[in-house]
Symmetry: C2
Subunit: 205 residues, 2 copies
């Protein structure tokens, strides 16, 4: 049932660094399994096997399955903070540039890191019952909301967006729209077209 041994052999590595690598390999393995088969299909044995270690070793690094899952949640938040679509503007971005970048990020994740959305879905469902995960996800949502709100506020101030825009409401609409779009059906083409229309609704005149 073994798969890939640890990709970074602990050869030229301090003892401590090797431990960190093992910890990370376990989280990463759990992340992948959750993406593939959900929490429903998450088994500690398989996580350990993918990371190339014994179950007991998994329990050495993570007290319980729950602790491991919490580790995955943190890893997910870190991924969202780190990974972004390549910038589509040069120099100082206008509010419209930033709005488009927002949409581009969503497509970038869907195209290149679909597992991030898959795991986020799983986490969102679990958040109803697990306060630790709810915390991580709420923090993530809040920071995303804030950045969208800032873009809109700046855009209204400099005349890019409609002067009568309800910035808070528009932020809700944009974030809910993006959350809902990464769901089951919406095609890339539909998403593009919807983004263009949203832009049209937001722009002044």
């Amino acid at each position: 049932m073994e798969t890939t041994k640890e990709p970074t052999p602990p050869e030229a590595m301090t003892h401590r660094a090797a431990g960190d690598a093992r910890r990370h390999a376990l989280v990463r393995a759990a992340f992948e399994i959750i993406a593939e088969r959900g929490f429903e299909g998450l088994r500690t044995r398989e996580v350990a096997a993918r990371a190339g270690v014994n179950i007991a070793t998994l329990h050495y690094y993570f007290m319980s399955k729950e602790a491991l899952i919490d580790g995955v949640a943190d890893y997910l938040a870190e991924q969202f903070a780190t990974l972004h679509a390549p910038l589509e503007y040069t120099g100082d971005p206008t509010p419209l540039d930033l709005l488009r970048q927002e949409f581009a990020d969503a497509q970038f994740y869907a195209a290149h890191y679909p597992s991030m959305y898959e795991v986020t879905h799983e986490m969102a469902v679990r958040a109803d019952r697990d306060p630790t995960i709810r915390n991580v996800l709420e923090r993530l949502e809040r920071s995303w909301n804030r950045s969208v709100e800032d873009i809109l506020r700046d855009g209204v101030a400099d005349g890019t967006f409609r002067a009568d825009l309800d910035v808070v409401a528009a932020t809700t609409i944009l974030t809910c729209f993006q959350r809902g779009a990464r769901y089951l059906v919406t095609s890339d083409l539909d998403f593009d077209r919807a983004c263009a229309e949203l832009e049209h609704w937001l722009l002044a005149q």
Copy 2:
């Protein structure tokens, strides 16, 4: 481990009808457990116990756990088709009435049947891996999309909504927005405010 026996005693009931009732009780029990603890916490034993029957009886009605879950998916679709918020208009509804009814439905489910959304989330996550469930959910989405699109098209035709509205894009925006709003954070107040702003964006002038 027993809970409620079947609420409709098979006294004055034909054999066939009693069978249907048992079948329904099993689906309903599974539905509730999925809402409470997700697929992760769904155990055939507990489903049987809640429906007041033996595990073997569950397996008499549903070949496998999967078949039971498919039954829950069908039940969910049926619920969405059946349950609606009380009508907020009298007589012949205008496109604006229908749009508002659309928003009212979303709040109605969230307020009175939250388990419908909880189970839908679980199903959506599972749909990635289960073609039968994907089918049910896609049918549901399509029919919802169609009805929103019809409202918008009528509204553009009669001058309620902006003449330059991209109906297809707007439909995507509205459905994605509503899907995304029934997620984790958005409060009733935020939802109301966002709906008002959306209405403002759609209306002519």
